[in-house]
Symmetry: C2
Subunit: 410 residues, 2 copies
């Protein structure tokens, strides 16, 4: 949790965090500022002290709205530095960082760096800064970073925000279900009032509208994929596809708070009107495995154990899995879940292979999303809910919605 | 333009581009792939050859949809590499890059790196890669990058997409104007049908809805800032503020194509019902300077000359400017414009100080947005249109809308 940051800094022998970039759609900066209308900012959190936010003067109100201690970036005279460095912006920015760090007494030690930025620019500036400050070690990390570790467990205010996005999600999903079931059918195809077939693009337009009505954004886009498209996990659906009865539709929706805040993640698989025998069998396997694994979730357990368990259960039902064949594109082809927060994918990880040691700690918010995929049979099924591991160790679905396969139509 | 990339690579003595990250809301990857449903990918463009896109198998359909040559990232066995490197993901990813590059015959030379990524992660992986490939130079750049240079001039298909976003923008702005002018007024305040005062939050919710109806996203958020808020250029407006007659409202809207494509940028300043004498005077100065500078725009001219010229014009009207006082927070406090494309802010730059040599080349799409800001008088005015420098050298506003200050109300 965020309150553990100082302890984590200490445990990882880090003296400070440096975060760069906007305070919208930039999880590290949103996490440390609470989110604000800042298109470009810098933040340094020295261990044991409150963060200091550096802002551009045009954005002084956004900086002030965070309630953090702030400093005007213009105090560092970047234009003059660029001139002194003969137009070398990268050198000038590195010198500015050195001065900002020095103003906080950070002249040596270890500093972890975060924030969305152009990869090449980050590499250039940070390499230059490292050269300028040989006594200082700049630390870049991945999922093992202390920020990802802090973010993995949520406090109640964060859970409330994720729950709110979950509420919006299931409201919108209900709108979609109502909308689909109220269409006319001709030749086993949903037909709009104008007589034209309803398309995936039509449905997605409405989803974005219903999300916008509720103040949510949808930067990841929605997966609404019918038939063979739904059998490739990240195929978002072909815009021009029509909605035929009896085909499986994978509907995976993951909106976030406006400005790039907390996400929710949710998937249902639907058949309009009826399901084929084949679809029912595959659905039933996913449904059974989903329910079984959810009943087995226990606080503090290693996440990868559940991935292994799900592979065993699917294999026992004669489905290929990435455990039996790591390159399979049929059967169970992905991880069981992932943390959800300011990133749509964050810790805990359920991967078996990478030796992850993530556990279902209290405060974890994670998806559970088994699925089966058969591209050659034009058939995909995934069921996903987002769970909170409560402080009392119980698992709680943050937004309830029926798991039914068949959506009846008129 | 994109077609110049090979020439630019040659001119900058670069052998290849390496682009990382998703193909949504990630300008470099969108530019080179055309945009696709890819949550994480790698792309290498070797000079003189077509780009090669590396994808995760769950996203093979998204990769195929780009029409590019593709390769499955699983061919590089990352999990096995991580195991070999005792769990060191960063080392494993660097080794994977080395292998990907080697498969394209890239074992030495200079490679420029792009794409939105966590700054620390980028620094760690690229530093590791640089160590692994001492014969290779990894190049990170800023605005001077060849990608930013290529992006600065747009081909007609790009301009068509920006123009489409402009059309959506002015439609939504017209909706907002109609909505505001049709409200009731009580005590000089707009009142909703339920008798409550209309707030900035109400207006912004509708803006997002009207954008969503038209298939646009709004990741930057809208500035709709009344009175003193509008006098701080990037203050987005206080959600609870009511809409009083006679106060200046700065309305700056910059939607983009769904999935993180091309932007449009647009600002008007409105007074509901009437404008004070003071507001009229300031508005008139901005309006005059806007029209004058627009009439002076000439193809191939240095952009910074216009910034200088605008400062002179405002100073002649007794307004402080950042030229007369670089730290001023009153008067004219920002640049005259910026390029608009896959980034909301890109080249050309109009900054005087950084020695920029950007010109109004044919194909440039740029905002022109003079403004005046008087926080202590609770008064801000900005007028902004987005212009295309056409191949014939003429300037064209990509979406027309009246510049009027006063919106009459009932």
């Amino acid at each position: 949790m965020k309150k553990d940051l100082d302890v984590l800094l200490q445990a990882h022998n880090l003296d400070a965090l440096l975060v760069t970039g906007p305070a919208q759609h930039n999880p590290a900066m949103v996490y440390l500022t609470g989110g604000a209308y800042l298109s470009s900012a810098e933040l340094i959190k020295k261990r044991g002290t409150a963060p200091l936010l550096f802002y551009h003067p045009m954005e002084r109100d956004g900086a002030a709205s965070t309630g953090l201690k702030t400093r005007d970036l213009n105090d560092y005279h970047l234009s003059a530095l660029i001139k002194e460095e003969n137009g070398n912006q990268i050198k000038a920015l590195a010198i500015r960082y050195r001065r900002m760090l020095a103003d906080l007494g950070l002249n040596s030690g270890r500093i972890a760096v975060y924030g969305q930025q152009d990869a090449g620019t980050a590499y250039a500036i940070l390499s230059e800064l490292q050269k300028l400050m040989p006594e200082m070690t700049l630390v870049g990390e991945m999922e093992d970073s202390i920020l990802m570790q802090a973010m993995m467990t949520k406090d109640e205010s964060e859970v409330a925000r994720i729950r709110h996005m979950g509420q919006i999600t299931v409201e919108v999903v209900a709108e979609v279900a109502d909308f689909l079931t109220s269409q006319r059918v001709r030749n086993e195809t949903l037909i709009k009032p104008d007589g034209e077939p309803l398309t995936i693009a039509d449905v997605k337009r409405r989803i974005n509208l219903w999300l916008a009505e509720r103040g949510a954004e949808n930067p990841q886009g929605t997966i609404f994929a019918i038939g063979r498209d739904g059998a490739v996990p990240h195929n978002p659906g072909s815009p021009g596809n029509v909605l035929k009865l009896g085909q499986t539709i994978v509907f995976d929706i993951s909106p976030c708070e406006a400005g790039g805040g907390y996400y929710y993640d949710f998937t249902r698989t639907w058949c309009l009107g009826y399901a084929t025998e084949e679809a029912q069998v595959v659905y039933q396997d996913v449904f059974t495995v989903y329910n079984q694994i959810v009943s087995e979730l226990r606080v503090n357990t290693l996440c990868r154990q559940y991935q292994q368990r799900v592979c065993e259960m699917f294999e026992a039902r004669n489905h290929p899995t990435i455990q039996s064949n790591p390159r399979t594109q049929e059967g169970y082809v992905h991880g069981l879940g992932h943390g959800v927060g300011l990133f749509i994918h964050e810790r805990p990880s359920f991967a078996i292979t990478s030796g992850d040691t993530d556990r279902l700690l209290p405060g974890v918010v994670t998806t559970i999303e088994p699925g089966l995929y058969y591209p050659e049979r034009g058939l995909g099924v995934r069921l996903e809910n987002t769970f909170w591991v409560r402080p009392d160790g119980q698992m709680e679905i943050l937004a309830e919605f029926p798991l039914d396969l068949v959506l009846p139509v008129n």
